[in-house]
Amino acid sequence: MHSSGHVALQHHFDDLDTQREASTFGMWVFLCTEILFFGGLFLLYVIYRQRFHGVFVQASRHLDVKWGGINTAVLICSSLTMALSIWAAQINRRKLVVVFLLVTMAFGATFLGIKAIEYGDKFHHHLVPGANFHYACPPGEECHPEQAQIFFSLYFCLTGLHAMHMVVGLGILSCLLLPAWRGRYNAEWHNPLECSGLYWHFVDIVWIFLFPLLYLIGRHVA
């Protein structure tokens, strides 16, 4: 399948196939770097969770499982619509591509809105690490506020870094809207959609791990 002379073909590639394989592979290599980037924070989480197990369980109960769960569902739906936008390109339905991209972005914005609600709530309860941090000890339980601060530091660093990646993801998708509307993505060439989708799904996967590790570890305690 050769498409030399295709409008999307860049000069240093021999043909569109090579370009497609190169850019998809390049995105996967980039995602590997992201695995290790978030991985550093996950390592911090693992070590401190092992060390301050009781406090982490206790502090986790301050996170709202309802919001966390809704956000998980929102991201799963956004991954579906992202995959469907590529499917729409494969069947040459240009307008459907744009619709699915917009819906994906709407889900992403919803996720960020819910995170804003959660962060605001933490701020009100003095659970943002730093000068104004004040951990209200649950009555009758052992209490180590500085260890709880570590939990919340990790919470904000992990979810904050994740949210930044969501914002970048929204930026990337918005750059696809105009070319998609103009019909640039079709069965023969939709690699930008594919690569953007890989990024978007990766951000979803990070959240798939963050949700149980941050929100659910204290649920079994009455």
Partner: protein
């Protein structure tokens, strides 16, 4: 990727079904992980949570990210990233977990 395109250009319209099935599975697993977290399984709470999370991630990687139909190189790349993360976590954790062991051995002599 190339194989997937070849299959499509045999005249078959690519199917939406796998995406919807994975979506449904992910939603169910999310509910499952919330429910299991409410049970007191001791150390197995963590194990269950991680197993469910890894299963969800695997579905996203294989179907949404098309890795099931991708080249060996892509699959190797995904696995390498994970393996490297595991190296970092396991060797570091290995340090912390084994720190007290020498004292224990010495005390038990």
């Amino acid at each position: 990727m190339a194989e997937e395109h070849a299959a499509e250009h045999d005249g078959h319209v690519p199917s939406r079904k796998p995406y919807f099935m994975v979506w449904a599975a992910l939603m169910i697993f999310t509910g499952l992980t919330v429910w299991v977290a409410g049970l007191n399984l001791g150390p197995f709470n963590d194990v269950a949570a991680l197993i469910i999370a890894f299963t969800k991630a695997t579905l996203v990687v294989l179907i949404f990210m098309h890795v099931a139909h991708s080249s060996r190189l892509t699959k190797l790349t995904v696995v390498s990233g994970l393996v490297w993360l595991l190296i970092m976590i396991s060797l570091t954790l290995g340090d912390y977990v084994t720190r007290g062991w020498l004292d224990t051995f010495a005390a038990n002599r």
